[in-house]
């Protein structure tokens, strides 16, 4: 087995791991304080003790709610293979009550667990929870949502019937992140890889993990959003940037991944504009500074003409050319109409607004390669 193929194999392994939420969640779920343990205990005790429960999983998007739930449910399905039947509802898919009831009927067996994301309509929940308050049915309703105020959204009668178990999903701590990185990146030292390669790889990884520059990269990335999903997405980019020529993960991979993910699309969008489009943007900015709160294409054109008259620029274009670049700016969402009604009124009369801030516009002009100096001047005054 050549060196290259070993590296390829290692890459594949890492990619497989990163795409498997169960693998990611596992190392974070072993302590008794973890949500996984609590959730599993609650569900399994409601199965064994034949009681009804309703649980709410709340946490920011990407904090691993569904992954933990799936892990717990998989375990429980194996533990009690023929007692549990699972019904999955999704608030986005089954937004209509009748549709949700039909779906339940389709998936229903004697006992059932319900899992639905996003709180749907209230009548459905009322019937569900009311039915759960009778002896004859046994169910666990699990609600998943990223809104922290879900239980406030429930109607008072429903809230009264809800059993108010809440599990909060929080971002992992720094130690957890470190543990997770090690868990994801270290190669197995069994027979699947040559022993010396795996040992070397893991050794370099340990060095990397201890490196302060590395820690800084990770923490500056997590400053933005510290959820697990977010981190995993970053690690996937890292693995993709890892070239087969070098056999080991390097700090450079992480650096370039960080710079590739921290981009400012609005500002970069300005770089792609034509000179005329820049003129239009600057004119709009000048109008806004003049405290003209409402303006349309015609008033922008008036400003453009006056700028041209006073500074005698070389870039003066005809009205219809300007209109076309104006429309392109709207398509790129650098500017937008302020009214939502689009009936019949032609483009030039509808009021518009700038969608880039002055700071971003200025930054964009500065980094623009052949920006006319006059434009920068116009920006300032």
């Amino acid at each position: 087995m050549g060196f290259q193929s070993q590296v390829e194999k290692a890459k594949n392994l890492l990619r497989t791991r990163l795409c498997n939420p169960n693998f990611i969640i596992k190392p974070l779920s072993d302590s008794p304080d973890s949500n996984y343990c609590k959730l599993k205990f609650t569900i399994s005790s409601s199965i064994t003790e034949a009681c009804n429960n309703s649980i709410l999983l709340v946490g920011p998007r990407g904090s691993g709610k569904i992954a933990v739930l799936e892990l717990a449910l998989n375990d429980l399905l194996q533990e009690y293979p023929d007692t549990i039947s699972l019904i999955r509802l999704n608030g986005l898919l089954h937004s209509d009550e009748n549709c949700a009831f039909k779906e339940i009927a389709k998936q229903l067996c004697l006992e059932h667990h319900l899992l639905f994301s996003k709180m749907g309509k209230q009548r459905l929940l009322y019937s569900l929870l009311d039915a759960m308050n009778t002896v004859t049915s046994q169910a666990v309703v699990i609600g998943v949502s990223c809104r922290l105020d879900v239980d406030q959204l429930l109607e008072k009668r429903i809230r009264s019937r809800f059993s108010h178990r809440k599990l909060l999903f929080l971002p992992p701590s720094k130690e957890d992140v470190q543990r997770l990185l090690e868990h994801v990146f270290s190669l197995p030292t069994d027979s699947s890889f040559p022993h010396d390669y795996a040992a070397q790889f893991n050794g370099k990884l340990q060095n990397l993990l201890a490196d302060d520059r590395f820690k800084e990269i990770i923490s500056s990335y997590l400053d933005l959003n510290s959820t697990i999903n977010h981190l995993v997405r970053f690690l996937f980019i890292v693995v993709s940037l890892w070239e087969s020529k070098s056999g080991f993960l390097s700090l450079e991979n992480f650096k370039s991944a960080l710079s590739s993910i921290q981009r400012q699309p609005k500002q970069e969008c300005i770089k792609d504009c034509s000179i005329l489009e820049l003129y239009i943007l600057v004119c709009m900015k000048r109008l806004e500074v003049k405290e003209q709160n409402s303006y349309n294409f015609n008033s922008v054109m008036k400003e453009y003409r006056s700028v041209h008259d006073s500074f005698q620029t070389s870039d003066y274009y005809a009205w219809d050319v300007c209109l076309r670049s104006f429309e392109r700016l709207i398509q790129r969402e650098l500017i937008c109409f302020t009214d939502n009604r689009a009936h019949g009124q032609s483009v030039e009369f509808r009021p518009v607004k700038l969608l880039v801030s002055y700071v971003e516009l200025q930054g964009g002009l500065k980094s623009y390669r052949s920006c006319p100096i006059i434009l920068q001047k116009l920006m300032d005054h």
Binding site: E111, S127, V135, D149, R157, D223, K266, S357
Partner: protein, 858 residues
């Protein structure tokens, strides 16, 4: 064949009974009776229609009684020619020809033959048809009385149930040659005085020629009589499509006097089981579970079917001839009293049933024997299992105990049963059981399987506490609502006990979780006993929940369906209900009894023109409506919000359920936890004080205690599994657990989320608060905020992340509703607003170690 000798299995408990009762009749066995009498032999011989089996006398299978013997006497000896019935008829022949030998024979086989001898003697007196008629009528009265005894018997079922715990449950039992599975429907013998011992022809006879034969018969859709195609006038070539009504029924409908062809002299028409069932000489039951008792006798739990005539409404015009009602009445029945299978199908299956034997019935509704209301089966089975157990006296724990006797290996084996202990005794007065009629309450055995290890391990105190705190458990006593319940009782009694029964209306209001519905239902339960005891005239009770109706108008449909078991459109239902309540037109038999209508979540019925509420509340004011409406809702001023003509009808009598105070909550919880040592006293008080201060919702208080018990249980189990040591401490639920449960339930999680969110989110939130202080405006735009953030960053040595990153952070905070924001596409125009008080943000972020400078701006 079936006559292969089987070893008689005599149950030990039966023996003494047998010997004692047969002490007089120890006559020598007749040589003919080689085999022990068994039904299987008959069943097989019945099937072997064409083969003439040796006509050896076999004892009667079921007890003959006076009625049946009278009928038997009528049955002429000619029946012998009918090949399908050779054996039994021959026996009958013999017995009538030679009574002495029969008695001998009987006495040899049946222990209770003393009574039999008497009966046989009686049966020799000539019987006139008139006499038969009177007997029949008597029987019906009997029956009515029995319904009551059935219900009463179920009350003392619990104590008996505990005594026989060693039961072995089976899924399928082969009993006397018939296979009976859980879920099958069977004919069941009525008590002995019914004519269940008549012939049991499997083949129906033609109404004209009184022969069965192989020729094709057509069934009249009206009288269900069978006719040979060739016997009809004019004869038909083939079975017609669609409905067909025989000439007799047609003529009868036209008002003519019809004389049905009578059988040749001396030959009486044999009645099929179906006919007997529909004339209530037999019962039908649905097998819910089957088991073997300790003494080896086989039993099954049957759910009775009722024919329309047996309901209070009587047979109604919309009832089909073959329609049955499933009841919520259960009984334990000995296998011995099963006659054979019948097939009760739902309408869909019934429509498809092409093989249409004679034992096919249609069942669409369940009939509530206590409240005399109907419920569609499809609703019960398909949607959530509705709480029809609500009026069961058994509570959940005891029914679980009953199940705990089930064999560990639930691989239901087919067991061939060789059963002899066979005879139904004529001693008792209830159903066809040979024991004292054992009736059991409404249980749902078999609705679910509880994993084995639950049954094995003994419940800890904490687990018991958790189970008893479940909202689903109906507590044995309902503390703290005595006054209200008395008021409701007085209201209902006052309305019903007058002879004319004036319609009235009661409005019950109170915040959720204060026991409104529970109290009303408890009152109804108590009143039911009084009805059973006869101190109150019977009434029907209909319960509707506004939130479970698809639209407010559907309430008419639901009410009408519950009262009559018929499904019509809501407009038609409104019309029919108007007829009944407003115009005083009583159609069916039970229509003149008072009706109590309980409408839960009444506010959901408010439509734009409020016509639904008006109609419903208008009925009680009509002179002969006999309707009592109890409306339940949360808001105290619902009547005032409605049109004056409605509030004048509804708002007169009101009952308020105030929120529970902490003593009451404490009493509720402690009454449930009586006898279970799991909670510290202060813990309960703490929980109830907390809930009383917030909402006074009993459900919430119970949930907190249950959650606290759960937390304690969790800690206990984790610590014991981790350290592999015996759990330390008593495992009492203390203040800390209750505190944790309250935290989880009442505290919004936003502070914790803010404490743990990413660095940029914290800066973002700080900037929001700073902006709020600076401008005094609650909402700001993203542009202003981004400038603030960049100021904060530059003055504190943080790198400004860039506008687009910041926008993303803001949108993420918006997703979890920590802030409220417009969609991110609005970019710098996006409006932002804190969703929580700024003090919360300050509290969460002040002590932050990574960003100590945040405190400056908070």
């Amino acid at each position: 064949m079936a006559d292969t000798p089987r070893k008689p299995l005599r149950s030990p408990s039966k023996k003494p009974k047998q010997t004692s009762s047969s002490s007089i009749s120890l006559t020598p066995q007749t040589p003919q009776a080689v085999d022990p009498p068994r039904r299987s032999s008959r069943r097989l011989s019945l099937k072997l229609d064409q083969i003439t089996t040796p006509q050896k006398p076999i004892s009667q299978l079921e007890k003959p009684n006076k009625d049946s013997l009278v009928e038997e006497l009528e049955t002429p000896h000619k029946l012998v020619k009918d090949s399908s019935r050779t054996r039994r008829n021959s026996r009958k022949n013999e017995s009538t020809k030679n009574p002495e030998s029969k008695t001998d024979y009987e006495s040899a086989n049946t222990p209770k033959s003393r009574t039999k001898v008497v009966e046989v003697e009686v049966s020799f007196s000539p019987a006139s048809p008139d006499q038969l008629e009177t007997k029949k009528r008597k029987r019906r009265e009997d029956k009515d009385r029995k319904v009551i005894t059935r219900a009463m018997a179920s009350k003392n079922a619990k104590s008996e149930q505990k005594s026989n715990k060693k039961r072995v449950y089976y899924k399928k039992v082969v009993y006397d040659g018939g296979e009976f599975e859980v879920g099958d429907d069977v004919y069941v013998k009525r008590r002995e005085d019914a004519s269940s011992d008549d012939d049991l022809p499997e083949v129906e006879e033609c109404r004209v020629c009184f022969k069965a034969g192989k020729a094709v018969m057509v069934e009249c859709d009206d009288c269900l009589g069978g006719f040979h195609l060739k016997c009809l006038k004019p004869p038909l070539k083939e079975v017609p499509e669609g409905d067909w009504i025989c000439g007799f029924c047609k003529a009868r409908k036209l008002g003519m006097e019809v004389e049905l062809p009578t059988p040749a002299k001396g030959k009486r028409r044999a009645r099929t089981l179906r006919e007997k069932l529909l004339s209530s000489d037999l019962w039908a039951a649905h097998i819910e579970s089957t088991w073997k008792e300790m003494d080896g006798s086989y039993w099954f739990k049957g759910r009775w079917y009722m024919i329309p005539e047996e309901t209070t409404a009587g047979r109604q015009p919309h009832n089909l001839r073959r329609e049955l009602y499933r009841t919520n009445d259960f009984a334990d029945i000995e296998m011995e009293s099963i006659i054979r299978h019948c097939f009760v199908l739902n309408p869909k299956e019934y429509a498809k049933a092409s093989n249409a034997g004679d034992d096919v019935f249609l069942c669409e509704y369940e009939y509530d024997i206590h409240w005399h209301t109907f419920k569609r089966l499809a609703e019960i089975d398909n949607e959530e299992e509705d709480g029809e157990d609500a009026d069961s006296d058994e509570d959940w724990i005891s029914s679980k105990d009953a199940e705990s006797g089930t064999d560990e290996d639930i691989e239901y084996e087919n067991e061939n049963v060789k059963n002899l202990c066979a005879r139904t005794s004529s001693a008792h007065g209830l159903a066809a059981n040979s024991r004292k009629g054992q009736f059991f309450g409404l249980q749902k055995i078999g609705t679910k399987r509880i994993p084995e290890h639950v049954r094995c391990h003994k419940k800890t105190e904490l687990e018991k506490a958790k189970a008893t705190l479940l909202l689903a458990i109906l507590p044995k006593s309902l503390p703290c609502r005595n006054k209200e319940m008395e008021e409701i009782t007085a209201f209902i009694k006052g309305a019903i006990c007058d002879d004319q029964c004036l319609g009235r209306c009661l409005y019950v209001h109170g915040v959720p979780g204060t026991g409104k519905t529970m109290s009303v239902l408890a009152v109804m339960r108590n009143l039911r006993y009084e009805v059973d005891a006869g101190s109150i005239q019977p009434y029907c009770f209909v319960e509707v929940n506004g939130l479970k109706l698809a639209s407010p108008e559907n309430i008419y449909r639901v009410i009408y369906e519950a009262l009559s078991g018929n499904r019509v459109s809501w407009k038609k239902a409104l019309h029919l209900l108007n007829e009944r309540f407003s115009n005083g037109k009583k159609v069916a038999r039970g229509d003149d009894r008072p009706c109590i209508l309980l409408i839960d979540e009444l506010d959901l019925l408010v439509t734009r023109n409020q016509s639904v509420l008006y109609n419903i509340l208008d009925w009680p004011t009509k002179p002969h409506s006999k309707l009592i409406v109890i409306g339940i809702a949360n808001t105290m001023d619902l009547p005032e919000k409605l049109l004056p003509r409605i509030s004048s009808r509804m708002g007169i009598q009101r009952l308020c359920f105030g929120p529970y105070n902490y003593q009451q909550l404490q009493e509720i919880i402690s009454s449930r936890l009586k006898g279970i040592d799991a909670f510290e006293k202060q813990a309960i008080e703490f929980a109830s004080r907390k809930v009383a201060a917030i909402s006074g919702d009993a459900r919430r208080a119970l949930e907190i205690c249950r959650r606290a018990a759960e937390i304690a249980d969790y800690c206990l189990k984790k610590s014991s599994s981790n350290l592999d040591s015996t759990p330390a401490g008593k495992g009492l639920v203390g203040m800390s657990e209750v505190e944790a449960a309250i935290q989880e339930m009442f505290q919004a999680p936003h502070i914790q989320v803010m404490k743990n969110c990413s660095k940029l989110s914290k800066i973002f939130l700080t900037a929001m608060v700073y902006e709020l202080y600076k401008t005094g405006m609650s909402d700001t735009t993203f542009e202003k905020l981004a400038i603030t953030v960049s100021c904060l960053c530059t003055s504190n040595g943080e790198a400004f992340p860039g506008w687009d990153t910041l926008l993303k952070v803001g949108c993420m905070l918006g997703e979890s509703r920590i802030i409220l924001c417009e969609p991110g596409a609005r970019h710098r125009l996006q409006k932002l607003q804190l969703n929580f008080p700024s003090d919360d943000v300050a509290f969460a972020l002040k002590g932050n170690k990574d960003l100590p400078w945040l405190a400056k701006y908070l």
